[in-house]
Symmetry: D2
Subunit: 356 residues, 4 copies
């Protein structure tokens, strides 16, 4: 029986939820029925494109549609109420990263999921990049020896906060928009929980453009296994940068070093039409045309969302939540990551180390 | 109705055919029934691992098994008789690259496929690398302007001819084992046929080890659209090289340049256990464990073979061969590539330009 | 006694001759006295900047100035008469690459140098890049084993033929402007002479802009030691390319592979002011300020010219020409490179292999 | 008048002081007269190689030799007494980095230099890498906008603490042996003083080998201009790593990003004799043979030491110490860097942010 799904929030990234579920629908694994969004124009456009029903009020969608599952891709600070409401309505829920922007918000979600006996999953798609999977495999197999330290960077071109989300960016920051991707990745690769975080940040460029948020945040996180990883995040790269995002990770242990450039995968161009250099990360998302002539999106940005359908299917087929344990980023993972992000914010405020 | 398949030749690369078809079988698209191989030990081991029936004589397999399709992964010079026999028996046929080592051999296969009205497909898996697909898309969309020239290299560590195939290597060469991958790729990306080839080669290292074949061959190919591409191939890289293969492509046109490192995809390690540096091309093949706990192989090395199943399925569902045109590397493509390779061999012999 | 020098041709690259000799003058090794150029405005500007006397007619300079040595940095096709005249006047001569654009022209120069007993040196500055020197050292020490094959690329942004030299570019080509750099480098690294060359070329982009010359030339050169090296040259890279030149070399031998990216030396930027990515080859030329507050230029582009002063000094101090043998690129080297370039042109014309 | 020089400490790095001064001697700028070292065998070998007089007791050297200047390349913790004694004896002094391992030690040196009116210079050679100079130039010219954050890594192969200095390594650490290079570089590039430092470290691998020191230290330094830079240092890279050191720097500002790989300069090899991959940083040091057939060492590792001779010469020619201000890394710079290193050590002890 296909998983009946509705999506709440169909903006910049919500469209990828729609794409993933449409593809799962073509395979017979899902049935994408409806979407909810506060913006009526965007909602109508998406409903037309994906052939689904639209609701400005997500509660109405929950009442009127016979849904098994809901995915939430609204701005971060709006996740809380929607997720709890959906869980209380008995839906399995996928939440775009970060789970919530407060620890208390995450805890409310976990309690609701627990009470409802429903799946609460977070879309941390960096875990689905094959090179990150290999990194985790090598680390967990002990090939790196004892992990000692590492460095991650995730940096967006300035168009993201300046042009894509000028209204919302002041409610977010490089910590929430970018950092959580790699906080989760490292915690997952190391299989170790964060202990403390020390962070510094700068407000210069975006403030000067009328967008009141951090340009950049540097967070150094200590994990329970003794490893210390630094995370540099920013969203002010010049417009001429070779990709929309610059990202990567390096880890050093007693027996070696592993480095993954998570953006530059060895393909590079300079085309007159682009007016400059470009790199390509086709692992994240690429557009294909299938045999039926339909547009298909492939890559870890899609697979991560489709995974949720697989999990709900398994539950419908009789699996229990504990059976799925370790197979997905769940509420506990989302909470742990939000603890790091909140710790970084606390450290930015106090100038001191924050315990996580 | 699943495609009933048998594999002829289950050595080094044949195992990937078995893996691909087993996976298609799990999805219900195929039914992998049998394999044939001259080596009884290897045959028995593979039959046990894949739960299929084995035949030392492929003709016996064709007679006794109710097969829709056959894939052939024997040494190159043995393709001819098997492919023609299978086509004459009414089977759809997938052939590991190169199609055949002579133009006449290819032409016999094409005639047999034509007479039988059956699919003849060649496994040129470089076409399935997402970065090569993007390269082709950009070139065909005119982003490179008019293609002018390019360079490809494909180089194996010396263990390949020295340790993997010391008996067979003298019957092959860097042209046949490596070159054909990139000859086909460039012809496909440029969508233009070869006109002439000029080649030089060296015999030094392998001959000194008792393996009588070329260490390296340099072939410069002119295409009908005026573009000229140089292909450097060798299989004598030192044992300490960072990967089993070094490969890449660069193309320059009137409006730009595109480069793909087909091996180094931005992930690199130095692990004490490896005694040196390593790069990772997970796009080619990677091992996963699925929800059922089964080992799964992903990557373009597998997808390219599964494509054959999709094609046969489409035919079984009523498509005609012309309907599939342009969707796969067929006999004509295999023939065109063999013309380049034979042209390179002729040029090596004569010292002159060979028309293709 | 300082070497008294005059420079003929003070355009784009001639200015580097002036810079190099001014610096040698500061060290007391040279005395830069005069320059000659057909363009009176450029001549006057240079004479003012460098504090030297100017002559529109180089013969007048040779007559009126007491020179020991002359360097020639005119357009290539004008080298011949000037060099022979200077040699006949008893001057030691440095010639910007290529020595001459015909074999006969080179031979006339060699004969004149021989008759006059004077130094004839060619400015092949790629030999002075420390990474190329290390490459040569490793190859000559046998670390690469027996050299088998290689690939060089040298590519300029289109501004070079389109904006810098639109008048002269039709008299030149990627072979003469770029190829000769790497033809000489490879011949020097391999310490082996060329035997034959096969070349192809394309005329598309520049012709469409009214500049009648090749966009690109591909030359495959066979050397006496059996190694075959392909040289891709072009000058049509888009304006947005990360550097004015893209260049590199890779050589493969029986015992290994060595690669040098001759442009990208590990430094990269994206600066808003540059509107795109940039790489830096500071090895070629960099501007410094010395203790006296004077601007100084460093790098192999300068060192290569200063070497000429050292050679003339050694001769003045009593060394004979044979004593200097092997220390510099001389007339014989220039001739050998011109033979390759002329062979490439012949092959472009005939479509056949040209013997060198 | 040549600068008369003696060297104290002629071990691993002291030999580079001898090389640099010998070369300055050949140019007539210096006169390398003597060396002092506690190890009589090493001392004798060096004196023989460099044709100088040797003293086991540096005080005896100071008394018996008519020296203008002394350079000190002993283990770090022994710098203090030697430097102060030499300054008090009226010598100009060059000290290998770090100046001293305590703030008080540095302050004593500064006081002694002040009292004696003598030059006190620190050999921070990273400042002499042309790519670092370009980085500084771009940053100071405002091309990066306002500097926001950065990342440096400097990592040695484990042979350095395990095989080169097993006795001394426990008295040093990645902070002192490696970190100070980049602490100084960043402070110099940013032209801003450190405010605070937060550091974490790990002891695992070397302790297990009987060498009681940190494997790795991560220090996050805040500068007065608001920029925050993370420094990852370690000396436990596997023996198979492609170079003896891995190092680099990236800086991000409001107007861009600049990255310098301070080890991998675009040249790479895999040679059978090396049993693996290698990269080459010829900018640091390379060996040449000059016209006289003498071995010459070039690169920033040498130039940085020769600079000291230039400074002393300028003083001898009548310049005052203030005239030289800004031209070299002096005592104040050494002190500032030692403050960072001591702050890192304090933070490692306390777990809190250390003010610098």
């Amino acid at each position: 029986m296909p998983v009946r799904i509705g999506v709440v929030g169909v903006g910049t990234f919500g469209i990828n939820h729609l794409r993933a579920f449409r593809q799962a629908s073509r395979e017979g694994a899902a049935e994408l029925l409806a979407a909810a969004d506060l913006n009526p124009d965007r909602l109508e456009a998406m409903c037309r494109e994906f052939g689904i029903r639209g609701y400005q009020n997500y509660r109405e969608m929950l009442e009127k549609e016979a849904l098994d599952a809901v995915s939430v891709a609204t701005p971060d600070h709006l996740h809380g109420e929607i997720v709890v409401t959906a869980l209380e309505a008995g839906k399995h829920v996928l939440v775009e990263k970060p789970l919530d922007v407060t620890v208390a918000g995450c805890e409310r979600m976990l309690a609701a999921a627990q009470a409802a006996g429903r799946l609460l999953e977070v879309d941390f798609h960096k875990r689905f990049d094959p090179y990150h999977i290999e990194l985790a495999r090598l680390v967990r197999a002990g090939k790196l020896g004892k992990p000692l330290y590492g460095y991650c960077h995730m940096e967006d071109r300035i168009e993201v906060p300046r042009d894509w989300f000028p209204q919302w960016a002041p409610k977010s920051s490089p910590v929430w928009f970018l950092g959580v991707h790699f906080y989760d990745l490292v915690r997952w690769v190391l299989d170790s929980d964060p202990v403390s975080v020390f962070a510094r940040g700068q407000k210069q460029k975006l403030v000067s453009l009328g967008v009141d948020t951090y340009d950049s945040v540097q967070a150094q996180v200590e994990f329970a296994n003794g490893a210390v990883v630094s995370f540099d995040t920013s969203w002010i790269l010049p417009d001429g940068f070779e990709a929309i995002v610059n990202q990567g990770i390096r880890l050093v242990g007693t027996e070696g070093v592993i480095e993954v450039d998570s953006q530059d995968r060895g393909a590079r161009s300079c085309l007159a039409a682009d007016k400059g250099m470009r790199t390509y990360n086709l692992g994240f998302m690429r557009e294909l045309t299938d045999r039926r002539g339909e547009t298909v999106f492939a890559g870890y940005g899609i697979e991560s969302i489709v995974e949720f359908v697989d999990n709900v299917s398994a539950l419908q087929d009789g699996a229990s939540l504990p059976d799925l344990s370790g197979r997905y980023a769940g509420g506990e993972d989302g909470l742990a990551v939000t603890r790091i992000a909140c710790g970084a914010e606390e450290s930015l405020r106090t100038g001191q180390v924050a315990l996580v």
